[in-house]
Amino acid sequence: MKRTLLLVLIMGVFGFGASSAGAINPEEIIKEADKTRSPGDSFSFDLRITSIKPDRQDQISKFRVLVKGRDKSLVKFTYPKRDKGKVMLMVGNNLWIYIPTSRNPIRISQQQRLMGQVSNADVARSNFAEDYVPSLLREEEMEEKPCYMLELTAKSQEVAYHRIIYWVEQDSFNPVKSEFYTISGKLLKTAYYQGYEEILGRERVTRLVIVDNLRKEQSSIMEYGNMKVEEFADRIFQKSYLKHVK
C-alpha cells in the first residue's frame, strides 16, 4: 500500500489521453496511472519532506532518489547533516539501510516510518500495477474532478499496505487521492496529489500531501524536483555496493 503511495508520489503523474470510461478495465487504469508517474525506465529526482505538527517547528529532510525499472530504487539522504551519507535501497520487497557509522547495511521494514507520516516505502518505491489487484468500485467526483474510484488489494503480504482506495482522474489518469488501509481495515493515512506541472514532456505531480488519519492535525508534504532521465548501472542497486554510493 505504501509502495503504491510511493509510486504515485515519486513519479509524478502523466496526463494521458484516456479512452472512454466504459472501455477501460481497472488494470489498464492503474497501468496508465503508473506510467504517468515515471518519465522512463531509469530516472532520478530530488525529494524534500516537510513534517508538520501543531505547535512545533516544521522538520525538513532532503533526499536524492534513483529509480531503475519497476522494482529498484536508491534513496540518498542529503539533509539534515546528522543523516547525510545514509542510503536506503529497495529491491523488490527487500529494503536495506546503510548508515556510514555502522558500516554494514541492515535490513529494515517497509512499514517503518521515515519521517512524519512518510514511510520508507513511500519514498523508496511504489508500483500499483505490479503489487496490487485492482477493481473498479464506481465513478465519482473527487476534488471536483470526475474520477475512477478503485479498490486495490495487495498481491502479497510483503507490501507495505494491504488495501488502497485510489481515485484517478478520468481524463488524464492523474492520481487525485488515495487512502491507505491496514490488514485489519483501519485507515492509516490519506494522500492528496497536487501541483501538477509539465515536466519531461508530461504532467507530473510535484507535491503530495499525506494526512495522518489517527492524528489528523499532523501531516507531511513531499515535494519533487530536478527530475532527470538517466541510466544507472545494475550494480548501484546491490546491497554490497551501498558503501560506494556518494
Binding site: 539534515p80 556510514p100 535490513r107 517497509q110 512499514q111 545494475d234 560506494h244
Partner: protein, 416 residues
Amino acid sequence: MFTRILLVLVFSVSFSTGCSALQLEYGGKFDCQSNYYGINQGSYLNPHNHILELPSLDSRIQMKLDLDSGWGEKLGFYLKDRMGWVVDNHESSLENSLDELYLKLNLSESLFLRLGKENITEGVGYAWNPTDFLTGLDGDNQGEDTREGRENREGVICLKGEYFLSDLTLTAVVAPKMEQWGQEADTRALIKIYALMENFDISLTAYAEEKKRAKLGLNFSRAMGENLEVHSEVSLQEGTCRYYVGRIDGGYYEFIQKNRESEQLYPRVLVGGQYTFSDNTNFILEYYHNQEGYNSSEWTDYLEYLKFCGERYENDSLYVTYLLIGNTYFTLTNLRQNYLFLRFSKPDIRDLFEVSWNNIYNLDDASLLINAKIDYQGMQDCSVYLSGNFFLGNASSEFGMFHQNYTFSAGVEYFF
C-alpha cells in the same frame, strides 16, 4: 610511515590528474563527553583498583572527520580520522587515530580496487559478528564487539578487490604482515561471495591467516512480511589459538595457548531477529554461542588464577603482572559460551527523543549487562545524550567481576 607514504601517493595522483577535477565531500562530528565510573572495589581482576588504577571520572573532546574525494568516477581516496583530548583524574592527553586512509581505483564498471587502510566489516548480527574475520574477533584477540566498537576501530592495511555482477558480488582481500607500519598480525586473506537469492541475503566467506587454521563463515538475513527480519551467522574453524588457564607443577597457574593443531571444531553461531512496529519501535533478540569461550571448568580455573594472584599481589609485585595478564584475557561479552541479547529502541518520541535499552545476559553464569540511553534530537545539527551501563551479577560471574559496577555518560554531539 604508512600514512606519509599514502598521503604522498594521494597527492601525487592528485597533481598528475589535475587538482581542478577533484571533488571533495566531508562530514563528521564533534563529540564532547564526560563519564563517571563506579569502580568495582571487589573485582578479582582489579582488587581495590590497585592493579589498573582506573579513573572514576574522565572527559573527552573528540572530532571525527570523514573525507571522501574523487577525480571523476575512476579514482579517489577516503580518509577517516579521530582526534581528541582526554582528561581524567590522573592526566590529560592528546589522541589521534587514523582509522582509514585508502585509494579507490575503479578499473571498470564492475571491478573496484581499494589500497590502503580500511575498516572492513562483515556480518548481519547486531551485538556479535562471528563472520567478521578480518578486523573482528580472533581466538587470541577477543575484544568487545559492538556496533559502536566497529565504528571506532582502526582498519587493516590491505588490497581489496570487488567484482559486481548483476545479483552477485565477489570480494577478495589480502592484508600482508607489515610490522614497520604497525601491522604486526601475520598475512591474512579473505574471499567472499555475496548474493541475493529468493529474498535471502547470503554471504559465504573463506578466511586464512598464516600460521593459523582457516575459517569458514556463512551469514544470511531475510525479511518476513512487513515487520519481521531474521538473521544468522555461523563461523567454523578447526582448532583454536585461545588461551586458557592451566595448572602447572607446584600448584601454580599460567595461561596456555590451546593447541591450534587440534582437529576439534570451534563453531560460533548467532541467531536473531528484529521486529519493527509502524511507529518505529524496534525489538532485537539474538542468541550467541561461542565454542571458544570458557566452559564451566575453564572458567573455574580462570577464577582460581585471579583469586590466587589477588591473595599475593600485595606482598609480591610479580602477581601484579600476573593479574595484568589475567586482565588481557578478560574479553567482555565473549568470555563465556552462551549469551542472549535484547534491545528495545524507540526513536522519534515527540520528534525530540530517542531511547534505547540493551541487555546482554550471560546464560552460563546468569550475570547481566544493562545499557540505557536517551538522546535528545530537538536541534537540527546537534544531539545531547545521557547513557548508563550497569554490570549485575555475583563476584564470580563475568559481569559481576567487571572493573566497574556502573558507568554514566553525558555528552553533546555537533554534526558538520
